[in-house]
Amino acid sequence: MVTRFFLNVILALAWCLLQDEISLRQMVIGFLVGLLAMLFFPRSFHQERRYFRKAALSVRLVFFFVKELLIANWTVVRQVLALKLAIRPGIVAYPLSLQNDVLITLLANMITLTPGTLSVEVSPDRQFLFIHFLDVADVEEEIRLIKDGFERHLLLIAQ
Amino acid sequence: MEFVIISVIGVLFGCGTYLILQRHLLQVVVGLSLYSHAANLALLVSGGLKRGNPPLLTTDAPYVDPLPQALILTAIVISFGMTAFATVLAFRVRQVYGSDAVDELAGGEE
């Protein structure tokens, strides 16, 4: 029930975004609309608790991600525009600590958006994330960075 | 700009015709889709390609002619329905008839 209410609030917010107007009136309408959508499609969201702590953690994660992104982004531009393509691509199995699908999705997305890496597949047992590297020269370092960076933040949210 | 669009319409019609005359049913369906795109563009031109604001009364005049837009919308929806049916038909032809080559669908005149 709480989950659904939370989803409904999110939907109301999204409504306000769409309306380009954040007001009580639009929140109410948005809530009703969201309710309608959930009424006809009672598909469950996810079974999470402690939303507000998680929301805070999520905001921290976003900032971390943007920072990482800006720092690392230069690399790919260099690689693409480099006159000589001296790269050795490969797919590496990354051992997952996360078990939650949504969070794994977020992790995979972040990895993809970070230069040089691309998530290819999650094993059905959630043990591995297979990552395509543009250059496998320093795989160990990369994996460590992901473990300590993105996945650590996500694990915090998962708890 | 009219002439540019008109030329594009011509090209689309040419390509559509070419595809419709091909052997493969899928190509025929795609050719028909090109036809309907071209026809929609023609309707767009029929309002005169004057640059103006979209016909939403919150923005300022001058507005473009709203009627062709409404007609195109109807046409798009209709041709979508038609294309959907034609596609499924082609798919069933392939399944049931065993061929999707148009000239193997010849006959039926004996």
Binding site: C16, L17, L18, D20, E21, N73, V76, V77, V80, L81, L85, I87, R88, P89, G90, I91, V92, A93, T105, A108, N109, M110, I111, T112, L113, P115, G116, T117, L118, S119, V120, E121, S123, F128, F130, H132, F133, L134, V136, V139 | -
Partner: protein
């Protein structure tokens, strides 16, 4: 309608930056050796390219009072979510469908794992 000089320049720069990323992605698409590598280029560069353009429009249209910019940010948010998922979907499908890595590749844990679990 007139906009302040600074905004004008800022918007132009953001636009050009967006274009730069977009073109980079496209060049990557053309130059890189296999589909996986090409996806690296498009999934990132285009996303950032669009982000730049969107930022420009957000500033510009918001200044003109045409939009609060919330919806534009929705586009960026959405792209950041979908581009990687899309790349992932294509990559896994391509791999399964037998599109092999470029010969220069050295490590392939995925292949090993697939062979074990088949």
């Amino acid at each position: 309608m007139q906009v302040p000089y600074l905004l004008d320049v800022l918007v132009s720069v953001l636009l050009l930056l967006g274009l730069f990323f977009l073109l980079t992605g496209t060049f990557g698409l053309l130059r890189l050796r296999d589909v996986y590598a090409r996806m690296h280029a498009t999934s990132k560069s285009t996303t950032f390219g669009v982000a730049g353009v969107v930022l420009a429009s957000l500033l510009y249209l918001r200044y003109l009072g045409l939009s609060s910019g919330l919806k534009e940010s929705l586009i960026v948010l959405f792209l950041f979510l979908t581009a990687p998922v899309g790349a992932h979907m294509i990559a896994r499908a391509a791999y399964r469908a037998g599109v092999s890595l470029w010969q220069g590749g050295v490590v392939d844990d995925f292949k090993k794992w697939l062979d074990e679990n088949r």
